[in-house]
Amino acid sequence: MAVETGKHSSPQGAKAGGGFFTSRPTKPYIHPYLGGALLGLVLFLSFFLTGNGLGASGGLNNIIGFFQDLIAPDHMDQVPYLVKIAGGDKNPLDAWSVFGVLGTILGGFVSGWLNGRLKVETIRGPRITPRTRWFMAFAGGAIMGYGARFARGCTSGHALSGGATLSAGAWAFMFAVFGGGYALAYFLRKFWN
């Protein structure tokens, strides 16, 4: 794994002339404190300009709602929670969070491309197979998605945005996320180490 020290690129895993996606040399990640400061600046600008913070799961929620509305519009009108997303004529894609999600995907892609990190791979612990990792990723994603809606926000929308604006619930949520992760980490150590 690339360590965030040194300023020069280490061309590990990249082949010169490997096509659009993998032609650039792999560069190390930026230092975490610099990453934190830059992320904080983006978060501040978001609040400063728009009054809203950052987020991911809300946009995903609306995207899911859009497809559900295509398949079963009546269902969307009948379930109280779903009415808010796509009840009646409401277009679930007409929401700022959806555009934030699309921007996030594009931004991640461009950073990955500039820094030569677009290799198709499954990043996993040394003791598990890719297939196990895929299964765990799907299961973890499902648990995470469920929890994010339960807490009315994900790590970025709730912990990060609510943390910076000093929301009491966001701070309780943040400590609960770390608590839940640490409580289970020991039992899952063979998947990651």
Binding site: T5, Y29, P32, Y33, G35, A37, L38, L39, V42, L43, F44, S46, F48, T50, G51, N52, L54, A56, G58, L60, I64, W96, S97, F99, G100, G103, I105, G107, F109, G112, T122, I123, G125, A137, F138, A139, G141, I143, G145, G147, A148, R149, A151, R152, C154, S156, H158, L160, S161, G163, A164, S167, A168, G169, A176, G179, G180, Y182, A183, A185
Partner: protein, 410 residues
């Protein structure tokens, strides 16, 4: 008046505003990927103390943004009342957080980081995103089974400074110091569990820590604008509204607003308890000016079609309350023209129990009396619209100050 946040929908149009959100999203994704958050091993390392990148980036971002937000608010550039502060549903927050922590260690991502992993062609990221979408779908289909719990322990726009009863600058400074302590501890955990050589870490991080602590001290020193500071800044814009009587609504208009399905009316009765007990308009809530200050966070969360009407016997106290609401950025605040006396001049004929008192009372004193306390039981508290054909100049204009609220995940 604090110029930020901007009213994007007015500046750029309904769809144009989304370009700003897409750009901010772009920067968000770019920084997440640059910091290594597209890599699940780096994220999971947090839970084995090998790599404290998650802690450093997350808390680094929170304290940076927090210091900037409260510095900008302290300097009068940013209106803290107009930015979205995640509402607190304490127990659902905690239970949801625990579920997410489990998902984090099982799946290796959180929703935002998995998008970045997917975008950089990591197959585990793609599976996590698909799982996440499935989980979100599943929640929408099952939330009605436990809607009671999900909506419980609602505390509104509760902030740490309100909860602790401390000045916000002190809270900001305490969180910065806590974060610096956690960074220090995190580095030593990395040394012990991850075998990291701290001597190779850039020395400039000490300067960064110092700058952050200094910025927090500055936030303490500049403080936050008080209600009267805010009113002073607004006075040139807003005082003419009072003088032109643009915000004093006629009793007839209030009655129509109370009967309108398109509006939610919150009546704030600023009189003493005795007058309130003699007579008040149905649905009016009695608050003192001091209580009104504490009520601001909840008023800010009312739906966008809410109008707030302040009521006193004449207009003196109601005008003070209106200034308070306006200074605190509560949108759509109005004053009942000539107060309860004006209301009763218009509608008292509905109730023979109410009669004009003699001698005529002074300013902002009730000029009607009744043998017993009528409260809202008087027919004049709920006059029939059809019975009174009242002519007035309409003044209510709904204004949408705030950007679309609801956090990124809301």
């Amino acid at each position: 008046m604090a110029p930020f946040p901007l009213t994007l929908s007015t500046l750029l149009g309904h769809w144009g505003q989304y370009a700003v959100y897409a750009l901010i999203g772009f920067a968000f994704g770019f920084v997440l990927e640059s910091a290594g958050f597209g890599n699940s091993m780096k994220l999971a390392g947090q839970f084995y103390f090998k790599e404290m990148t998650v802690l450093k980036v997350m808390f680094g971002a929170i304290v940076t943004a927090m210091v900037l937000i409260f510095a900008a608010s302290g300097l009068g550039l940013l209106d803290y009342n107009l930015i979205y502060v995640n509402t607190t549903y304490l127990w659902p927050d905690i239970v949801g957080g625990l579920i997410m922590g489990v998902g984090f260690i099982v799946g290796g991502f959180c929703p935002g980081t998995s998008l970045v992993a997917m975008a950089t062609r990591k197959i585990d990221g793609l599976f996590f995103v698909l799982g996440g979408l499935f989980g979100i779908f599943l929640f929408g289909e099952t939330v009605d089974l436990f809607a009671g719990f999900w909506n419980s322990s609602y505390l509104g726009r509760l902030t740490l400074q309100d909860w602790l009863g401390l000045p916000v600058g002190i809270v900001v400074l305490a969180i910065v110091l806590m974060a610096l302590f956690m960074f220090w501890g995190g580095e030593h955990l990395e040394r012990i569990f991850g075998g990291k050589d701290l001597k190779r870490e850039p020395k400039v991080r000490y300067a960064g820590a110092g700058a952050l602590a200094l910025a927090a001290v500055i936030v303490v020193l500049i403080g936050q604008p008080t209600t009267s500071d805010k009113w002073q800044a607004l006075e040139p814009d807003k005082a003419p509204l009072l003088a032109e009587r643009a915000v004093q609504i006629h009793p007839g208009e209030l009655l129509d607003a109370l009967h309108s399905d398109a509006l939610k009316v919150i009546l704030l009765d600023i009189r003493n308890e005795a007058d309130y007990n003699i007579f008040h308009i149905a649905g009016a809530r009695r608050v003192t000016l001091a209580e009104l200050s504490d009520l601001i966070p909840s008023l800010l969360l009312e739906p966008a079609n809410t109008i707030f009407v302040t009521v006193s016997n004449d207009e003196t106290a109601a005008t003070e309350a209106w200034k308070l609401l306006t200074a605190e950025s509560v949108p759509n605040a109005y004053i009942l023209e000539r107060g309860i006396n004006g209301w009763l001049d218009t509608f008292a004929s509905a109730d023979p129990a109410l009669r004009k008192s003699t001698p005529v009372a002074g300013d902002d004193r009730l000029r009607y009396e009744s043998a017993m306390a009528l409260g809202a039981r008087s027919p004049a508290a709920t006059p029939e619209v059809d019975e009174f054909q009242v002519e007035y100049t309409p003044k209510i204009q709904l204004e949408f100050k705030k950007g679309p609220s609801g956090g990124g995940c809301g």
